[in-house]
């Protein structure tokens, strides 16, 4: 660093620790609540020390035997649905975006920019805004209660297409030329050179899209009419404020912690690539 100011270093740590405290506090509370009994939680103020019911609550959540969990779809099953859904969405988005970015950057054809724009506009058309008609389409295609229905409608991705386009534009032209000299055709170049070069962008996008897929709520609620196809976020919401039963916050919080683990692992384990991907492609 340029200057040797000691108190500035102390201040840096102080600010960061405070930031971490504020940011992590809700998560800590969630964890603590997941180790107590429902009644303990209701006694304001709730204790901030972990209680003794951790195993009990998590078992209940996982097996769906807790009062709060609605029965025959245990959290384990829902986590699996979430996992498959999130993976398909993330991988699918990346795959089709790679292809379309490749087409848009490396070819010249009529309406090229029109398609780019068309894709770009979808970036900000969230499902909530057109949920009814979209649902009708999915239903008439017979995709309710299928992984296809849970994933394909969410699989178009302006973000990914845009990011890949930006990245492809930074790939030196000479690489294409070298590949052409080596006798590689477009798809061969795509497979052998472009995709391997895009790994950091792919990793960054994987994180973003996995989390997007994992955190879906409204869409699965609509397209799944069978409990066996419920993802876990719905599992959490279903335990809260439904009907007349009191919320079993301990089980809710245990489920919330469980539901958080896979995406958090993805974020944390891939953060190096994530950050790198963000820098490399300049957004």
């Amino acid at each position: 660093m340029v200057e040797r100011n000691r108190w500035l270093r102390v201040l840096s740590h102080a600010v960061l620790i405070l930031g971490v405290f504020v940011v992590a506090f809700p998560l800590y509370v969630t964890f603590v609540a997941s180790t107590q009994t429902a009644t303990e939680i209701l006694q304001a103020p709730m204790s901030l020390w972990p209680g003794s019911h951790l195993i009990e609550n998590y078992t209940a959540a996982l097996q769906g035997t807790g009062m709060g969990a609605a029965s025959n779809a245990p959290v384990g099953r829902m986590m699996m649905i979430s996992m498959i859904t999130a993976l398909v969405i993330a991988i699918g988005k990346i795959a089709i975006s790679l292809l379309s970015a490749f087409a848009i950057v490396y070819f010249r054809f009529p309406f090229r920019m029109f398609f780019f724009w068309a894709i770009f506009v979808t970036l900000m058309l969230p499902v909530e805004v057109r949920i009814g008609p979209t649902y009708s389409v999915v239903a008439s295609l017979g995709m309710l209660n299928t992984y296809a229905g849970l994933t394909i409608p969410l699989i178009a991705s302006a973000t990914a297409t845009f990011l890949f386009r930006q990245f492809f534009l930074t790939v030196p032209d000479e690489l294409v030329e070298a590949a052409r000299m080596d006798g590689a055709g477009p798809m061969r170049f795509f497979k052998d050179v472009l995709v391997p070069l895009s790994t950091t962008s792919i990793a960054a996008l994987f994180v973003i899209q996995f989390i997007y897929g994992w955190n879906q709520y409204l869409w699965p609620l609509l397209v799944t009419t069978e409990e066996t196809m419920y993802p876990v976020v719905i599992g959490i919401k279903r335990m809260i404020s439904g009907g007349d039963a009191a919320t079993d916050w301990n089980i809710v919080m245990a489920t919330a912690v469980l539901a958080m683990i896979p995406p958090a692992l993805v974020v944390i384990l891939m953060q190096r690539w994530f950050v790198k991907g963000l820098v490399d492609t300049e957004k």
Partner: protein, 334 residues
């Protein structure tokens, strides 16, 4: 090995509605196994010319043949050429081995043969111990050698080089120059080498093409180009420091420019009287910047001769047999 011939080669770029001609009817016959350097300032069209030979740019008009075949319509891969790029264009995610083998793999050369050819090229270029590395783990010079290796393994009829040394530092550049020469001697493959560095051009070329603004100004051996520059452009572009070009030299002819190289001006006690402006020491020699009337001159002397004082007047004698005369209008040699 093959000859190359360029016949009335023209390149135009169309950007929007405007058309820009960047290569003006170039003609050249290059023999089997020759080492040709294309030299010229930035933007003069060297790369464009080379890339037309490579098949990376379409030829607007004219004809290019390699060997007996007119290649105008052929894909780069079908022209049996190999190219070394300025920034090497190595595949960053492949090992050195894979970089060299890639073209062969695509051609479906049997893996044993690929191994053998890569090993041989690696041997020539002393890359044997680096085959498992990725390009980012190599130094600039090593990368450059890999780029050459990638070209060599292809055993092409023609080598194309687009400023392959410009990313190297001075020392490495000199060394790699020697290696390229050696390689060419050994393999004898027809080569086109682009550079904007005249020292590189002079040392490497068997014959050189000097280009300026899309025109071929001269095509000849380095000696010819140096001692009988065809135009004032060539005269001032080749040679460092450049040839002095004087409008009003003592004994000059009207409508002509007199050219004399800095090393052909001998300091003495008689001759032109000049005012010394600055003096630069370059190891074994000195460059004296001086003024003759309102014209600027450079004189190159040996360090032994002692440094003239700044501001003093010196006398120099141009060697009579080394004078060059150019038309002041067209710049053509007279």
């Amino acid at each position: 090995m093959a000859s190359i011939s360029l016949r009335d080669v023209v390149k135009r770029y169309r950007t929007g509605k405007t058309e820009l001609q960047v290569i003006h009817s170039v003609n050249a016959e290059i023999a089997h196994g020759e080492f040709i350097v294309i030299v010229g300032p930035s933007g003069c069209g060297k790369s464009t010319l080379l890339r037309m030979v490579a098949g990376l740019e379409e030829i607007s008009s004219g004809e290019i043949s390699i060997g007996e075949r007119v290649v105008n319509e052929l894909e780069p891969a079908e022209r049996d050429i190999a190219m070394v790029f300025q920034n090497y264009a190595l595949y960053p995610h492949m090992t050195v081995f894979d970089n060299m083998a890639y073209g062969l793999k695509i051609k479906k050369v049997p893996i044993d043969e690929i191994k053998q050819r890569v090993d041989k090229a690696a041997g020539i270029l002393e890359l044997g111990h680096l085959l498992a590395r990725k390009p980012r783990e190599l130094s600039g010079g090593q990368r450059q050698r890999v780029a050459m290796g990638r070209a060599i393994v292809r055993q092409p009829q023609v080598f194309l080089f687009d400023e392959p040394l410009s990313n190297l530092d001075a020392k490495l550049r000199a060394q790699t120059r020697l290696e390229i020469q050696k390689l060419h001697r050994e393999l004898g493959i027809t080569s086109l080498f682009v550079t904007h560095d005249q020292v590189e051009a002079m040392t490497l070329a068997q014959r050189m093409i000097v280009m300026n603004a899309g025109n071929m100004e001269q095509f000849g051996t380095p000696e010819e180009v140096y001692s009988r520059p065809a135009t004032t452009f060539v005269a001032s572009f080749i040679g460092s420091p450049p040839m002095n070009l004087l409008k009003h030299a003592p004994g000059g002819r009207p409508g002509s420019l007199l050219g004399i190289r800095p090393e052909h001006l001998d300091m003495g006690t008689s001759g032109w009287a000049l005012q010394v402006e600055t003096v630069e020491l370059l190891g074994a020699e000195r460059l004296v910047h001086a003024r003759l009337g309102d014209e600027q001159l450079i004189i190159r002397t040996h360090e032994d001769q002692g440094a003239p004082e700044i501001g003093s007047t010196i006398h120099v004698l141009p060697r009579e047999d080394r004078l060059h005369w150019f038309d002041a209008e067209t710049g053509k040699r007279q």
